[in-house]
Point group: C2
Chain length 467, copies 2
């Protein structure tokens, strides 16, 4: 396995490090007393959390993904994922973290495989733009929807079915790869009726916890990534995050400290990697954290509106956008820095061929040193300004370290759900909008909701104008 | 001018629309009483806000940008912007909003100009990846730094100077376009010593308010955008946002409602466009709002830590990531929806060539209808869940509507600064990190800070571990 050590430092979450603005010692001690009960609940819930089994016993699934990927890379020029939310963000994170920043612009021989696109929106201009740059005949499509009820993905699917039929006639099946429920749902029904085999989202694995099943594994295989290392990294993190002792379990530490920060009023969680390749990983985290913990909790007999709003940021870029606010603004956030110890390449700032005056001190240093120095400087500044923060150092970006990162945050999220006494695995709050969309699109059975929407909501002429 | 009407609807900011969770009528009335004083301050400050003059009297600058762009498109294959923060985000927003989603992948004749890159980070892997896909000899570089003190941009500049010297010898100047201060700063000193002419960031125009000077205009010209329409749109919005009456001035409405929401505890501002092309516009907004209003305010004799944390989101994608939280989570945010009335293209979901069962109701509709329905459905859902929100409808995405959007948010931000009694135009909170970076990179004169950093901050062995 390639170097993949992940080092966590949560010291700056405490009051001692942040001029009194962090979590006080006695609060930390009181919170830590909850760990035995947390551990018991996490162990008791292991079977219900089906995603916890994904790092293991998947040899047949891995083999099937590899076989499909080999055919895709042999027969096609492009691979397009149609999926949204949890069906897209894991693939985007893997692609960005493990592949060249201008992958699709490289010559085929340098890529070693097809061009790669994840299309997770229904913007007509974007979809038409995609159709401008791919030849659908020469493109494999991976349609991912557990239920087959996802309007966005099913709309894309129908558009492509039509194009493939026009180009390929009866042979359209050759270009389609489908991942859906094992036995039920609209997509499974369509596939069965057509006699198509499918990849499966295992029972009980929700979208945002699905990156280590075919939802993400087929993308990884198409990109020629090391699936064994990805799963081994996840398994290694699972072992660490299953330890009973707080001092040895990073997921329990993260969950405990973040839920305490939430109680103190920190309703914002900033994910701030110092590596462009991790920007989409932040998006993956933002879904996981928001959709799992953003819940109305009625268990206490009254409604508690819970949840920390995740913010995706990027170092060093956002130092010139957000750090003014983070340093001088309210004490309402926790910042997770993610640093990379060893980038895949080095770039030295050479001696300048002209006199560059007062910036000549940069010459001889590397961008690697600069980005590391800027992260250290920003950790220093936000800490000095009393803002809770923590640092996660990744030895190197590769399949194993990504597997570790995915599994760490999944375990931390599940543990945080336990500590907050909420169900981290459902998403009842999206139903209202889904039903309203069905009604507006004329789906049979939603006439009543359509009438409610037509009635409209309170408009106020004082606050409406055009320019 | 192309269709560029912007329609604002702030009705859902009020308690009447949000089940009592918004701004109450009497609070709104009391706040509205502050408008005459706000207007007086905005008018009195017009000259100090040098960016307010940018929509006007720029004929010579526009002509210079067009001339440079014509040469760039005639002589080169690529155009690379080296800048960060306000020197990058306006160009990114314009490029995305007005150009094809896969612009660089299109054949040259469809682009009508060079490939376009904005490089706003110092990640070594990303910079090396760029160098993999461009031929520096065939590339024009636009170096943007007002002070010449920006370590990121100056590092990129030195790296490229070296490459150009090796490839082109003494002729490297031909590939360089520089925008910097009119008379002072390291970059101006370098350019003067070398005898290079430069584009100018006008006096008193800060980075985040600079998109309508050569910082953004040269990019726009290289992309063959209509600079006159961009500036005319801004001028039209300036006229509307200079009206004294609250009912006629969208910037005053936005500023008043958002600052009242902040007082009510809404410390998060979500920017949620329903158009992929506007995703970078959200980044531009996030810098403007965060860096202008995220301030420590000592004017009252004690420190107030002010500022709303902006969150960039994207419809419909984030419905499958963030909407669960927005609907069920805390009443701590305001959501700005931005919709597009007319996309540049249409895409119909055709009759399906196979039986698609329960999703057949989608057939015959278009993605244009779907994305509009999903936005309406989400507005409905968040409003029903009591979350303050507002809607900005853009008739069509083009130079004129972008000019309007840029200027609207600049005016709204300036007005919000007035209402919060803070200086919206400085950024003192970034100094600590900048100085720490200088120290870590060995800049002469920063030895004391380097010693402070070496001393380090409180580590806590209980909260440090590796996996």
């Amino acid at each position: 396995m390639e170097p993949s050590r992940i080092s966590f430092d949560f010291s700056h979450m405490l009051a001692a490090a942040t001029g009194g603005h962090g979590i006080r010692e006695e609060v930390f001690d009181r919170a830590a007393a909850r760990i035995p009960a947390l551990h018991q609940a996490m162990e008791a819930g292991r079977e219900a959390m089906a995603w916890r089994a994904l790092p293991y016993v998947q040899q047949d699934i891995v083999a099937a993904c590899r076989a499909a990927a080999a055919r895709i890379n042999a027969e096609f020029d492009n691979f397009v994922v149609f999926g949204i939310g949890g069906s897209a963000l894991g693939s985007k994170a893997l692609f960005s973290a493990c592949c060249h920043s201008h992958y699709n612009a490289l010559p085929r021989e340098r890529r070693g495989g097809v061009r790669f696109y994840v299309e997770d929106n229904v913007d007509p201009d974007r979809m038409n733009a995609l159709l401008d740059v791919i030849d659908v005949k020469r493109t494999a499509f991976h349609i991912i929807t557990k239920s087959g009820n996802t309007v966005e993905t099913m709309s894309q699917f129908i558009i492509i079915l039509d194009r493939l039929r026009k180009e390929l006639g009866e042979n359209l099946r050759n270009n389609l790869f489908i991942t859906t429920d094992r036995k039920s749902g609209i997509m499974k029904g369509i596939a069965d009726a057509e006699g198509w085999d499918t990849f499966t989202v295992p029972d009980g694995v929700g979208g945002r916890f699905s990156v280590l099943c075919p939802v993400g594994l087929l993308s990884a295989a198409v990109l020629n990534l090391d699936l064994d290392a990805l799963l081994a990294g996840a398994a290694e993190m699972d072992a660490a995050c299953s330890r009973p002792a707080l001092a040895e379990n990073p997921a329990y530490q993260y969950a405990l400290l973040y839920t305490e920060a939430m109680r103190m009023g920190a309703n914002i969680s900033v994910m701030l990697p110092y590596a462009d390749a991790l920007a989409p990983f932040s998006e993956w985290y933002c879904q996981l954290w928001a959709e799992s913990l953003g819940k109305r909790n009625d268990r206490a007999g009254h409604s508690v509106h819970c949840g920390q709003t995740p913010v995706r940021a990027l170092g060093v870029t956002d130092q010139h956008s957000q750090i003014q606010l983070y340093n001088e603004g309210p004490f309402d956030k926790v910042i997770s820095f993610i640093g990379v110890e060893h980038f895949h390449s080095e770039l030295v700032i050479p001696a300048a061929p002209i006199d560059v005056r007062d910036v000549s001190y940069l010459c001889g240093h590397s961008l690697n040193e600069l980005i590391a120095a800027e992260m250290s400087a920003t950790v220093h500044a936000v800490t000095k300004n009393g803002k809770m923060n923590n640092t996660i150092m990744v030895e190197s970006l590769n399949e194993a370290s990504l597997g570790k990162l995915f599994f760490f945050f999944e375990m931390a999220t599940a543990a945080a759900g336990e500590l907050l006494d909420i169900n981290a695995f459902d998403q009842p709050g999206v139903e209202e909008g889904k039903i309203a969309t069905f009604a507006l699109m004329g789906r049979p059975g939603y006439a009543e909701k359509a009438a409610e929407l037509r009635a409209g909501s309170a408009a106020d002429a004082r606050l409406m104008l055009s320019v």
